[in-house]
Amino acid sequence: MRLINGFIHIFSESIVSMIPSKAFGKRLVVFIFSFFLFSVFNNIKAADIPAGKALFMSKCASCHQVLKKATGPALAGLEDRHTWADHKELLAWINNPAAYMAKDPYTQGLLAEYGSMMTGFADITLVDVDNIVAYINDAATAKSPVVGVVDDGAPKTNNNAIIFGVISLILAIIALIMMQVNSNLKKMSDDAEGISRPDPVPAYKNKVYITMVSLLFFAIAGYSFSKAAIGLGRQKDYEPEQPIYYSHKVHAGINQISCLYCHGNAWESKHAAIPSVNVCMNCHKAVQEYAKGPKLYNKDGDEINGTAEIAKLYKYAGFDPNKPNEWDPSKAKPIEWIKIHNLPDHVYFNHSQHIRAGKVQCQSCHGEITAMDEVKQVSELSMGWCINCHRETKIDFNYSDSTGNKFYSIYERFHNDIKNNKMDSVTVKDIGGLECQKCHY
């Protein structure tokens, strides 16, 4: 192709020197022609890579990655290894690995290293191999994937309270100034009219002022004292720093992992269990770096290195990313996550009762978990909060319909009342949701 381009270039040069008068027109024609040729050749070569990518994704990507070891070796630079520069050799291996390996010590070594034999693909042709290798070479030299739309995710503070405070302060100052001006004016007019009045009592001796200030003081002090007393033992907004910066937003939000994938016990037991390390490793055996998600920030606004956080997990798991096949899950150490939602021991709460029988969504109590990087307690988890929900929540009583919850079929009277239009809905309160012993025993 380079030859052809060069030839066309020389050709055009010679035409230009031969016929100087029509040089411009000729030149233009020849250049257009040469560009056309160039683009055609370029397109033929570029067409290899997408086809190779499609093949790689459907046939190879389950076990091979370009840059990293996975179930099988990393494929970048494979033409420098063994005799793979000869694509016919590579084809023979891909078409029938068992037969190829029988007479080849190099691939026997690979089997020993990776522990499982490659699946054969008899339908792959030599052209396919060329395309796949072209894709691998292209992907190996390409820069690391450009991170797409990045929202900065930096913590934003809600300034409403501050603004209101400032406004009321300014208003108070203006009112004070006005009062001062008023009394001065009055004094001036009194002086002008010759009326003599006693000197005004200074503010700190004025009984009205003292009463007002002390009343205000008692109101504020009483309010903050009772608020602190009520808040004692409650942990709303509690947001402890966890041993690993685990972002629920990335996992449950962006990557749409079901809550129950990790907290499956919430369906079956009192507790929404914390996943053991092997559950993390189901994905993180392969997902070894954080590259495609938005940037993460901690509360001080410093950027979090996601890949370094995954490395922390590997430390707990005892996993060496360079030797993925040698990992022994039984040697993993538990990660000591800090429990955020604590209930006192004198109250009973059961997850399965709420999410399975009651069909309550996780987000109803835990807030918008899918938007939280670090999780904080959104709900109060106070008794008033529980009771309020029990009073207001209508239960899915329609058991005769197939979507209804069969559990409630025992409440015959309510069913009859609904049928006879005596009541239109049943709340948790009606089936004993306010009884002390349901939660305290």
């Binding site: 499982s116 004692l232 402890p240």
Partner: protein, 208 residues
Amino acid sequence: MKKIWIITGCLAMIAVLVGCDKTRRDAGSVYMPDMTYSRAYETYSSTEDLSKNGINYTARPVEGTIARGDEFAYTLKNDATGYVQSASVKSPLDAAKVDMTEAERLYLVNCAICHGAKLDGNGPLWKGGDGPYPAAPKNLVSDELKNMTEGTMFHSLTYGKNLMGSYASQLSTVQRWEVIAYIKMKQGGAKAATTTAAADSTATTMTN
């Protein structure tokens, strides 16, 4: 002079309000600790002090324990021989009686994240190569997986296969068989095809 004091006071109050870090890192105190913290050992409470007091405790059930309502434990070993032998293992469940709503729920929670809600190997973690997962999950409705016996699937679910981890900790024996029944149902329930293909599927799985 008075005004300067007022202005400095205002500025100081604003500084205090703005300067407060709103993140609550501290859990706070409680009224009555003996009513708040359980005396009994709750889930996830540390059992370290038990062994210090000479009490022998392990949270692990004895090997071979079968949970109430669960099936017998799976005995084939996690090696090449076990994998080949697993091809002949049959599900203890009657496929017709499996609660497919529950099986679908289990599939969507545990498997669909990689293998896709349509079982096409294109779940949200892979997204045709755009997701964070670097390896392509298997297409469960491909011929290769249609020909795979339920026993081999169970073996892979129990011990993990290639990059897929073991799901024995997330799904009980019965739940694993339920998920497999669901996958087989979605593959077209081609009972005849699977049994005739069983012979050559053992041949192909050996090379895996």
